[in-house]
Amino acid sequence: MTARAAEPSPAALADEAVREILRTQWAGEPAVRLDSPPGAGKTRVVEYLAVQALARLGERCMVVTQTNEQAFDVGRRLAQGFPNLPFALFIRKDLVAPEDVTALPNLQLARADGDLPAGPCVVIANAWKWSWVVDGHVAPFDCQVIDEAYQLPDYRFHQIAGLATRVVLVGDPGQIAPVVTCEIERWKCDPTGPHVACPRALIERHAGVRRLTLPVSRRLVSDTVDFIQPAFYPELPFTALSAQGERGLRVRVGGAMPVDAAIDLAARGASLVEVELPGLITGEVDEQLADTVVTLIVRLLQRRAEVYDGDTERPIEAGMIGVVCAHVSQVNAIRERLPLELADVLVETADRFQGLERPVMLVHHPLSGRADASVFHLDAGRLCVMASRHRVVCFLVSRAGIEDLLLRYAPSGDRVLGLDEDAEFNGWHAHLTVARRLRERERVVRLARMTA
């Protein structure tokens, strides 16, 4: 036990990692790639980098997000978190900004190159907006911080890379790859191709670029990390910030409905629970499964479930629950069933859930109800996003037979010449790892055929 005491706590580890990143900017490191597991405080690091650049280094810092919504979000967090510092949000001429954003006194809205501050500053915009800046109209920046950099394909990074002297790419390597809608056969074999996520392309071109990682997830509890890390981040070891048993679910009222067994299992400390319906091939929309998801939410509220986190305790409300699906049709099937009082439950696809979190998550398992897997459904990034959004507990709702389906699966074996990566196999393997672990650790609650 004495040896243990010498090890730094996860919180200390997390803070030291942040310090190291902040120091790279004092050292003038031209490029840094920061890889982060889910919920390790990526956006917080982006904020720190921006604030340090402005207030401590006296520099011009540009923050790059992927979407307008993310730009608003970063703007909001910075302006509220540092009310004494000025920030600028750089957006399209005719874009309507949310009222709470326009109301922030220390957040300036800039719509044209000329509106941008001349001296030290922090300017937030999405990558698209940055790519329209005309050289010479805007003073060069010292530092460029890209949030969710793994969502930015290299050809779009190329267009903005020259706007600042230094660049920091912050992102999660385990999530869904950027979507390129057109044919890419010309570039497929090229590990620095225009379609490749920019942090990967940068390292391919310049192996010497400084690489750092965030070693601690603030969001996920250690029970979840045990599932997620080996399955999705074999090369990025990380731990959980919260100590065992520090965070969890509690119920005030007992229950005897079939789904209650899953809630009870969660209340006993399981942060990942699979709720398994009898095997059936349903195609994309599984009405019974959608009913089960809604029933589970209803039961959580009826049984007055609470989440505790250290010393705080909160009864679960609709707004604290999220539901994530692979397909929009599944999202709609669940939304359709949610009663009015549950309108605050966020139901979205995995793509839209990237970067978000909720204390309680319900996942429509992507392989559920299928006769055969497919590359889309096997995508490791998708399952990873789905199973890493919860702070406290995640219920994976599925149909029985997923492990069988995986073992029967005939991989298409579509490989790219000369690239080591085999996304199909990685996804398959990650799925199987998670499924097996759930079974081995007795995290599966089987429901008999319900009449909903």
Binding site: D15, V18, R19, L22, R23, W26, A27, G28, E29, P30, A31, Y48, V51, Q52, A55, R56, L57, N68, E69, G81, F82, D94, V96, V133, D135, P153, D154, Y155, F157, H158, Q159, I160, A161, G162, T165, V167, V180, T181, C182, E183, I184, E185, R186, W187, T192, G193, P194, L202, R205, H206, E284, H327, V328, S329, N332, R335, E336, L338, A343, R352
Partner: protein
Amino acid sequence: MAGELDLVARLLAYEGGRAVSIATHRLMAIRPDALVLCPLAMAGEDTTVHIVAVGAIGRPPEIYCVADPRVRDEQYELFAWLGARIERHFETCRRAGEYPQIWVSSGAVADHLDTLADRQRYNRENAAVKRFGELLSYQTERYPVDGQQALITATGALRMHWATGQQPGEDEHLGTLLAWIEPPRNTNILDAVALAERVPMGVKTDPEFDRDVLEPRVAAYNQARRGGARAVELRQRAGLIQQALEPVVRSIYDGTQRAIRILSRMGLPELPALRNLEERERDEFESFMASRDAGYHLPLVDKPRPAAFKLTAREDAADNFEAAVLCGDGVGRARARLAGHTVYGQVENPRRTRLSPHRFRYRFDLVSRQRVLRVRRRDELASLGDPRLRVTVANVHREGAVTRISAIITHGQQAVGLPASGTTLELAKTVPDWDRLIRTRKQLRQRLVATPWTHDEQGTAPAVTRARRPPRDPLAEVEALR
């Protein structure tokens, strides 16, 4: 659900034993002066053409055959012969300010032409063959771009307009596709398809045919050639080879012509955006030829800068073509509605609120009963009826089967006006924007003048100019600023 309409169409085709139409508009141009091009390669020889049939729409083909395409000089003669025809076609198009269109039977042929172009445009031995490769590159470089009109595969064109009752992969065989579209009388459709499947329709002959017929003839020819046989004998032996191959290539040529005939006779109106797609094609062709005249090199591997240009153009084309079909074609629109790519519903509660003495806000609710919707708060949508009307979504609210979308008008309140209560309206996220590519290219040219070190493989990171001593705890210092 993605593709559910197409699933139902396949089900209907299966039920009826014949293909069903899945377009209300013709989605690609049929240039009256287009060339129909049917090459056959020798198996295992990826850059050869053994025989080729080429001709205009509705006309019989000209045919050129070589005895053995592995004999380089013979092969080059064929390429030069074909190159001359392509050159003539390109010249005519250029003079008329038009673009050249080539039809082939299927994707396999397009791939083969691509291999040929990629290889022969770097030919250092024969200028005519090099030119052939360069010209062909126009078609093959355009082919992966959505909405292009330069290289059309008959299977691709038919598949946009018809759904069959077989697997999508099986539709790549032109013969089976034609059997579904015009099934022979008094025959079970599956038998007809199985029969059609055996007739080669791509770029290669049947292995059995190669073994039994072609190989002995080619071997005999080669033996005679090596033994120094007289010209008359060689001619006769070459003639035997052509005799064997010609029926094969003719049936592919006829199949391709039949596909064009079917598409023309469907009598569908053209997709409104076809005008823009053709305009884009003319521009692309003009710039391609100007670039050839200037002696620019066509690369096989792209550096980051040209790659950025090409990928951007392809993405723009993909978005525009998808939006064009969604807006302009009835089935395209139905597909989008089912998949939730458009919002379709009744207007309720249109209202105008005064923000200041001279400023108003126009808003309305759209009530939809679509099962699947992709619309979210703060999405920007345009009306398909009149794209000048644009809105931002203020809220989305679902109650059971009904979704209520509150929209604020951002553009078109004057030109189009507030929609009346009870009218139906259909909104979509993207409508085609045909000038966007021009703007984007201008922006790219400007942004990519200099290659940043991050995108230059040889480039090195700039030296650290200003290393400063960090504070003892940089994190605490930042936190202190809260």
